[in-house]
Amino acid sequence: MESLIVTQNLSKNYGGVRALEDLSLEVRRGEIVGLLGPNGAGKTTAIHILLGLLTPSSGSASVFGLSPLTHRHKIAPRLNFSSAYVQLPSNLKVLENLKIFSKLYNIPDAPKKIASLLELMDMTSLASRITGALSAGEKTRLNLCKCLLNDPELLLLDEPTASLDPEMADNVRKLLKKIQKERNIGILYTSHNMPEIEELCSRIYFIHEGRMIAQGSPEEIMKAFQSKTLEQVFIKIVRSGDFVVKEPGL
C-alpha cells in the first residue's frame, strides 16, 4: 500500500521543552493509524507539523511525498483535518459554513456534495441551525462534514471525539470505519481513549513525553506489555518511567 505520511526522526523543541523526539511513523492508504499517548505526549505537535502549521526542529515529514512546509498548497486540497478544539464559526448557520468551506476547497457542484454529506451525517434537518446552538455531538458531525467536503485521501483527526458522550463517540467511530472502508482513505487518529483506539485502529504508535514507546497492532502491543487491555498498557507505561522502546512484530 502506498504511503500517505512518512516521518523520520521528527523532533520539536519549544524553547526548553522537548515536545517530540525522533518520531518515525508511517500511514498508508486505507488504514486507520492511532497516535496514542497521555496529555502532553506530543500528539498535537505531530499533527500540526503534518499540517504545515508548525516547523519541526529536526527530522523530516512528508505527506503525499511532499513537505508540508514548502508544498502546503499541493497537499491541502487532498487532505482534511478536524479536532475537538477547532470549530466552524459559531455565529453562522450550518449550511452557510459548509458553503464557505466548499468554496475554500474549490468543490464542484457544492450543493449536491453538501446535501449528500448532511444526509450521511444525519444532519439534514439541522442545515439551517446556527452552528453555535448545536450540541457537542452535532458540532463534531458538522466538523466531519467539513472534513469530507473535498473527498480527502487522508484525514488527520486530533481527538475528534474528546467532547462527546460514549454513545455519540461510538457513532462517530462507526462512521469513520465506514468512510475508511468505502473510500479507502488513510486516517491518523489521536486519542488518549484506549478502548476507542483498540476498536478503530489497525496500527498504533504509542508516544509518551515526545518519545515512541511502542508500535504495532493493538494485539501485538498488549502482548508485548503482557496486558489484557490497552488501558493497562497505558497505565504501565505512564507509571513506569522506564521507556524501553519495544517494537513487537518488527
Binding site: 520539536k12 519549544y14 515536545a19 498535537t44 505537535t45 500540526h48 499540517l51 504545515g52 502549521l53 508548525l54 516547523t55 498548497h73 491541502a76 486540497p77 482534511n80 483535518f81 479536532s83 478544539y85 477547532v86 470549530q87 466552524l88 464559526p89 459559531s90 455565529n91 453562522l92 448557520k93 452557510e96 458553503k99 464557505i100 468551506f101 466548499s102 468554496k103 475554500l104 476547497y105 474549490n106 446556527i130 467539513k146
Partner: protein, 268 residues
C-alpha cells in the same frame, strides 16, 4: 487563477454571512462613524459661526477631514478584525489548513474593507449633506478618487501590520488593532496642517502617505485643485509601507509557525 477567485469569494461569503447573522455587527459598521460625524459636524458648524469670514471654510475642512480619517481607520480595521474574527471563533486553523493561500486571505480582507468603506462614505456624505449642507462630492470633485485610493491603500498596509502582530502574539496583541491607527493620527496632519507640528514631528509626518492626503484635501478646499506631487508622494510611500507590512507579515507568520502559536491561535 479561477480557483483563487473562488476561494477569495469563499472568504468574502464568510464576512457577508457574518454581517447578515449578526445585527450588532451590521450596526457597528455605521454606529461609530455616524456618532463621530454628528459630534464633529456640530462642532464645526459652531466654530464656523464664531468666525465672521465664511471664506475660512472651517466647517468644510473639519468635516471632510473627519470623514477621511474614518476611511483610513475603517480600512485598517476591516483587515485586522477580519483576521481576529476567525481567531475568536476558533475557526482560524480550519482556514489555515484549507487550500486558501495567505495572499488570497489578505486580498479578501482588502475587498471586504473596500465594500465597508464605500458604504460608510456614502452614508456619512449623505448625513453631512442633510445636516450641515456640506456636499463632500461637489467639494472634492473627482479628486476624491486619488485621495481615497491612497487612504485605502495605507489602511491596508496598517491592517496587514496589525494582523501580523495578532498572528504572532495572539490575544495580547488584540488591543493594538484599535491602537495603531491612533499612533499615526497625530502625525498625519488630519485636522491641522503639517506646519503647526514641531519640526521633528514634521519629518515624521512627511514620511506618512496619510499626511499628503490630508494636506491634499485642504489644498483642494483652498485652491480647488490637487497638487499631483502630493498624490505621487503618497502612492510611492504606500508602496514602500505595503511592501514592508507584507514582509513583516510573512516574518511573523513564520515565527508563529516556529513557536507553535499558529495551531493554537484562539486557544489561549
Amino acid at each position: 487563477m479561477r480557483q483563487s477567485l473562488v476561494r477569495i469569494g469563499g472568504i468574502l461569503t464568510r464576512y457577508l454571512y457574518l454581517h447578515m447573522r449578526s445585527m450588532p455587527r451590521l450596526f457597528e459598521i455605521f454606529f461609530w462613524p455616524v456618532m463621530e460625524l454628528l459630534v464633529w459636524g456640530f462642532v464645526s458648524v459652531y466654530f464656523q459661526s464664531l468666525l465672521a469670514d465664511p471664506a475660512t471654510r472651517i466647517a468644510a475642512i473639519l468635516i471632510s477631514a473627519m470623514i477621511f480619517w474614518d476611511i483610513l481607520y475603517r480600512s485598517q480595521q476591516a483587515v485586522s478584525i477580519a483576521v481576529v474574527e476567525d481567531i475568536w471563533t476558533q475557526n482560524i486553523v480550519n482556514i489555515l489548513v484549507s487550500p486558501l493561500r495567505l495572499w488570497e486571505w489578505l486580498a479578501a480582507t482588502f475587498i471586504y474593507g473596500f465594500f465597508k468603506i464605500s458604504l460608510i462614505t456614502a452614508l456619512l456624505s449623505a448625513i453631512a449633506l442633510t445636516l450641515y449642507h456640506f456636499n463632500l462630492f461637489s467639494h472634492l470633485g473627482l479628486f476624491m478618487i486619488p485621495l481615497l485610493v491612497n487612504l485605502l491603500f495605507f489602511g491596508w498596509a496598517l491592517g496587514v501590520f496589525t494582523s501580523a502582530l495578532v498572528i504572532r502574539w495572539g490575544h495580547s496583541a488584540e488591543a493594538l488593532i484599535w491602537g495603531i491607527p491612533y499612533l499615526v493620527q497625530p502625525v498625519s496632519a488630519i485636522y491641522y496642517p503639517v506646519s503647526v507640528l514641531p519640526v521633528p514631528l514634521q519629518w515624521v509626518a512627511k514620511g506618512l502617505p496619510s499626511t499628503y492626503v490630508f494636506e491634499g484635501i485642504r489644498e483642494v478646499t483652498k485652491t480647488h485643485t490637487l497638487p499631483w506631487n502630493y498624490f505621487w508622494a503618497a502612492l510611492a510611500l504606500n508602496f514602500i509601507y505595503f511592501l514592508l507590512a507584507a514582509l513583516f507579515f510573512g516574518k511573523m507568520f513564520k515565527s508563529a509557525r516556529n513557536l507553535g502559536r499558529l495551531g493554537r491561535l484562539g486557544m489561549d
